[in-house]
Symmetry: C2
Subunit: 154 residues, 2 copies
Amino acid sequence: MRYEDLADEPCSITRPLVVLGDRWTLVLLKHCFSGVRRFNAFRTAMGISRSRLQDRLDRLVEHGILVRQRPEDSTYDEYRLTDKGLAVYPILMAIRDWGDAYMAPDGPPVRYRHRDCTGEAHVTLACDACGDTMTARDVTPELGPGLEGKLGQD
Amino acid sequence: MRYEDLADEPCSITRPLVVLGDRWTLVLLKHCFSGVRRFNAFRTAMGISRSRLQDRLDRLVEHGILVRQRPEDSTYDEYRLTDKGLAVYPILMAIRDWGDAYMAPDGPPVRYRHRDCTGEAHVTLACDACGDTMTARDVTPELGPGLEGKLGQD
DNA sequence: GGATCCGGTCTCGAATCGGAACCACTTGGT
DNA sequence: ACCAAGTGGTTCCGATTCGAGACCGGATCC
């Protein structure tokens, strides 16, 4: 089975991973959030090869995560985050929280601060009903609407 | 530059991505959270090839995300999540929230419910000082302790 | 015009991947 | 004891992907 076939799985974890979960893609998006927009800017920021960068950019544009557009004051295109792309931010912040906790022996290299505030941004998993913070052990998976309709079919 | 060299970057996003951010790895961890522990169980659940699965398992064990251990009542080893591995859960839930929002046209295939509660688990990015919910636009990166010591050195 | 920057394509050797064959060990049946 | 089946793992091979560099067309600047 090829990795791309995971996109057919009725699972909201594997489906995004087919797009985002390979080498460079999330690194590329991380740089988008730091304001990188141009082809060569990505290249120097990431150290990725030209052809690979092109692959990734094309795929992200194809999936509506980036848009490629020409600013009025420039002769060159820019790759910018769409709303769908901006919504990836919590994923990166969840990765960062984990990285700060387990892969930053000297402490966090970068603080992600709340603008005009003393606090920092952190990701929490919580229940949307009672508001309690949750861990993996507090979660029970259950059939959702995206699967119910498909059960009696075959 | 090779992808693995990103591990040298002083960045708590890229460093985890060198371990987690390639094909299959996060998919594998997802199955760990659904109770999959044995080699062939991963294989049938994921459709991954034997050699690739071995690579990934070895790497996760090497990084202390999984432990390989023999239960008393069995003749075969199991791969189980460590605390470091359990802490990956918010990353997967952040991916799922995004997948439910943008890649689940028929609605969420699976609900991740709070045990003994009516609510569902969701990831939020919030300020740890004022408690406000945040988006990418509310965040300002700032020098952290993991970098401060290294600045005047070279 | 020539030099330079920019984004992008193409090519080629190296690394990675998927699938199958193969192996050692354990279990169950006869 | 024997054979069959299952389990975890390694090794091999052809196919895909990757990284690095060459190349190319267009815009800019001198």
